[in-house]
């Protein structure tokens, strides 16, 4: 149904173009439920948004039912009618009631009569469990309810495929379940879906296939069985082992240290990591930013916790800074004196990408 070939996407940041997608190839068949997983900032959402051209790809091909949608002459609105999308932030139309949110599309785009559209809308709302909220305004709903209305709105257009862009990321943990169960129900009914998600258990249960994305490519794909239990590649294994993590993106040394500290503390307390380890993490992150990393571009810091092995991994990613650091003796001295003693192992980048270093700390 959808074939993607050599898809690439560069964000035109004024000073430094940033390549989010490098070379994405895949095929999605009718009836499949695909979950797209991977670390943050690796282009999962961008990839999904390219599929209905909310982002314009920089190169490659996307063919939907035999039509290349990157062709300028393609009627993209017509293609989008077949592809529903559910957003992280719900994006219900705030000025319309729940019912109107679900009827506007069919009436204005599918030529349905108002009565017919309302009948269908009530059925869909009933399906997502919100029939009694038909007259409410979006502002009166909880996050979980909003997302379920968004799914109903999406279904009202009778799409052939639905793209879910992190549908539960903006929800309170208590509301995640209600949304996931609606998606599960759709999966049972045989709806074709592509879901970007961080809910690993859900992805494992519901999907027919998993795409593991990292660094702008689909690094590994396979059935949930394969990806979660016996992944064949290093990075996939690492990701599956340490799926719990937080990360920070910095562009200068003047960053929000108190904010980072409290995020790290919250993260540690969530997984019952000892306080001295948490102090150690904060210490390392601060020193790396202050002394080691040259701030000449975007820097991503990733703190991951692997429950299986009871280890913390801190990874530093930066663009074009490996050379500068490796050739600077002073930096190496500081690193050896202050950082290295705090770590179990220091793992220089194995994959040749722009990861600078990975530090392992025992708990």
């Amino acid at each position: 149904m959808i074939t993607v070939k050599h898809l690439s996407k560069v964000f035109d940041d004024k000073e430094k173009p940033f390549m989010v997608l490098r070379d994405v190839n895949c095929e999605i068949k009718r009836g499949e439920v695909i979950s797209i997983i991977g670390p943050s900032g690796t282009g999962k959402s961008t990839f999904l948004r390219c599929l209905n051209r909310l982002e314009t790809p920089s190169g490659g091909e996307i063919i939907v039912d035999g039509v290349n949608i990157l062709d300028k002459n393609t009627d993209i609105s017509a293609v989008r009618r077949k592809m529903g999308m559910v957003f992280q932030n719900f994006n219900l139309f705030n000025h319309l009631s729940v019912l109107e949110n679900v009827t506007t599309g069919p009436v204005k785009l599918l030529g349905m009569s108002r009565a017919e559209a309302e009948k269908q809308a009530l059925e869909l709302l009933k399906m997502v469990g919100l029939a009694e909220k038909a007259g409410a305004m979006p502002s009166e709903l909880s996050g979980g309810q909003k997302q379920r209305v968004a799914i109903a709105r999406c279904l009202s257009m009778k799409p052939e495929i639905i793209l879910f862009d992190e549908p539960t990321s903006a929800l309170d943990p208590t509301m995640v379940g209600e949304v996931l169960s609606v998606i599960r129900q759709l999966a049972r009914q045989g709806m074709t879906m592509a879901i970007v998600t961080h809910e690993m258990k859900f992805a494992k249960d519901v999907s027919t296939r998993i795409f593991f994305m990292t660094d702008g490519v689909i690094y590994e794909e396979g059935t949930p069985e394969v990806i979660f239990n016996k992944p064949s590649k290093v990075a996939t294994t690492a990701f599956i082992n340490k799926i719990r993590g937080i990360d920070f993106t910095l562009t200068s040394r003047d960053c929000d240290f108190p904010g980072m500290d409290s995020a790290i503390e919250a993260f540690c307390s969530k997984y019952a990591i000892a306080e001295d380890v948490s102090e150690k993490i904060k210490n390392i992150v601060r020193q790396m930013i202050a002394e080691i990393i040259p701030m000449n571009g975007r820097v991503v810091i990733n703190v991951d916790y692997s429950e299986k092995k009871d280890r913390i991994y801190i990874s530093f990613f930066c663009e074009n800074c490996r050379e500068a650091i490796l050739s600077d003796d002073r930096v190496a001295t500081i690193f050896d004196a202050r950082i290295r003693p705090l770590c179990m192992t220091v793992h220089d980048d194995p994959d040749g990408s722009n990861r600078l270093v990975r530090l392992k700390i025992g708990c």
Binding site: M83, G84, N91, F93, H95, T104, C154
Partner: protein, 489 residues
């Protein structure tokens, strides 16, 4: 509402009454030099204004736009003396505003003549021919007797033939008793009759446009008017710029002072108000003039708002378009227009940019106000639209709406809610802002009140009336917009 109105009137009247105390230059004045150290008022652009330092060395000059404002300044003591043409005080009712002449200013007074463009010598020659004619057949003498006398009177205009076909003769003047003023909705006065007869002599229709004195030179030179006839004294400086006809009058310039008090003080307050109302609104159907002025204000406001909003939407579109060139153009457009004072823009449009198009003042004003308003409207629209979450657009697009469809179905209804309150403010300030169109001879509400003031020499009452009318206009408009926004919400 009624209470508020009454409160408003009484506050304004009280303010106007309390201003009536002041100083008086009580020493003897026999020559202009005696004004040294005193405050003296004159009319902007008059020869007294231009040569004040030589005429009255050491005196402090205050400049006013017309003889009513000058008289008011004398009345409430802002100036101790006025220096002006004697003819300018002829229409003043000595019972209401007693003034006394003190001495002549010999270096300055002189012949009064009409002014023409240098390139328009033929018309000037016709005027001289015409003037010689009426002087010879006694018409001129009758006119002088009719309009210019020592006593405070206002005469009737005689029947004069009028023409409706052909190129109109456009006369620029300043509203001033007894030269050019309005009675029963008609232009009357000494110069009014002169010009009416001249137009009849030429077999052309007559058009009269009323400006401030200081704006008349520019209007003549840019060709907005054909004849400048507002009791101008011939002098060398002016002769370099314009072509003067033969003189039709000789007027001495004199120094005036407020005469000792009248009996006006013991009239009760309500009587004063009702007298003023009668004088300024009812007599000679002056309310009809006000209504016409109000209509003009409404027309200009309405079309300026309409075109301004449309243009603003267009500029907003350019500003938000992806095209760098268009968006920068819109940005510069907005920046420039927000930096230019409205009056300056109006003048530039009237005298320079649109002067050759022959567009009437009303439409020049509409265009100028629309352009000015569009800059503000653009910013209002832009911020209103910008405040809408990008996700709303994405949701619309993802459903399969086109960009335009998304914009009108989902963005506009939400943006309007943000836009309308700010838009209302800006629109009301536009309505009030139209009060400056009198500068380009449009008889809007403010200008008609000025004309009534020039006629009745009542400095405040017409102003109070029009401020109340403006208030209601703005208030009604605001209510209407509130209604619309409630409907949308």
């Amino acid at each position: 509402m009624r209470k508020i109105t009454i409160l408003l009137i009484s506050i304004l009247v009280m303010v106007s009454c309390s201003a009536n105390t002041g100083r008086n230059g009580s020493h003897e004045v026999t020559k202009p030099e005696d004004l040294e150290g005193c405050t003296a008022g004159c009319i902007a652009g008059s020869l007294v204004d231009l040569n004040f330092e030589e005429l009255c060395p050491g005196a402090i000059k205050q400049v006013y736009n017309n003889s009513v404002d000058l008289l008011t300044a004398l009345d409430n003591g802002r100036v101790q003396f006025t220096v002006e043409d004697t003819i300018l005080v002829l229409g003043i009712d000595p019972n209401l505003h007693p003034i006394e002449p003190l001495c002549r200013v010999p270096d300055i007074d002189g012949d009064i003549a009409a002014a023409f463009r240098k390139s328009d010598a033929a018309l000037c020659a016709r005027f001289n021919e015409f003037l010689a004619g009426i002087k010879a057949d006694g018409t001129y003498g009758a006119m002088r007797d009719r309009w210019i006398s020592d006593k405070y009177t206002v005469s009737e205009m005689p029947e004069i033939e009028t023409f409706t076909e052909g190129q109109p003769l456009v006369v620029g003047t300043m509203v001033q008793i007894p030269c050019f003023f309005i009675k029963n909705g008609e232009w009357v006065g000494f110069e009014a009759e002169l010009m009416k007869r001249f137009a009849a002599y030429l077999h052309r229709p007559l058009e009269v446009e009323a400006y401030d004195f200081s704006a008349l030179m520019a209007s003549l030179k840019t060709g907005v008017i054909n004849v400048w006839c507002s009791f101008i004294t011939v002098n060398e400086e002016r002769s370099k710029e314009v072509l003067f006809s033969d003189p039709y009058y000789f007027s001495p310039v004199m120094v005036f002072r407020k005469a000792t008090a009248s009996q006006a003080a013991d009239i009760p307050f309500y009587k004063k108000v009702s007298n003023s109302f009668n004088n300024n609104i009812l007599v000679e159907d002056r309310w009809k003039m006000l209504l016409d002025g109000l209509w003009e204000t409404i027309v200009i406001s309405f079309f300026s708002l309409l075109f301004g909003s449309l243009l603003g939407a267009l500029i907003c579109l350019l500003r938000m378009s992806g095209n760098r060139f268009l968006s920068n153009f819109a940005k510069v457009y907005v920046e420039i227009l927000r930096g230019v004072p409205m009056l300056v823009l109006l003048m530039v449009m009237f005298y320079l940019v649109l002067s050759s198009t022959g567009l009437s003042g009303r439409w020049v004003a509409v265009i100028s106000f629309a352009i000015n308003f569009s800059a503000y409207a653009c910013e209002i629209f832009r911020t209103g639209i910008g405040a809408i979450d990008k996700g709303q657009t994405e949701a619309g697009l993802a459903m399969g709406f086109t960009r335009v469809g998304t914009f009108f179905n989902f963005i506009v209804p939400q943006a309007l809610k943000n836009i309308l309150p700010v838009f209302k403010n800006e629109a009301v300030s536009l309505i009030k802002g139209t009060s400056i169109v009198g500068y380009v001879a449009i008889q809007d509400l403010t200008k008609t009140s000025d004309m009534i003031r020039a006629r009745t020499f009542d400095p405040f009452f017409p102003l109070i009336i029009i401020s109340i009318i403006y208030f209601f206009l703005a208030w009604l408009f605001g209510k209407a917009l509130d209604r619309i926004s409630k409907k949308i919400a």
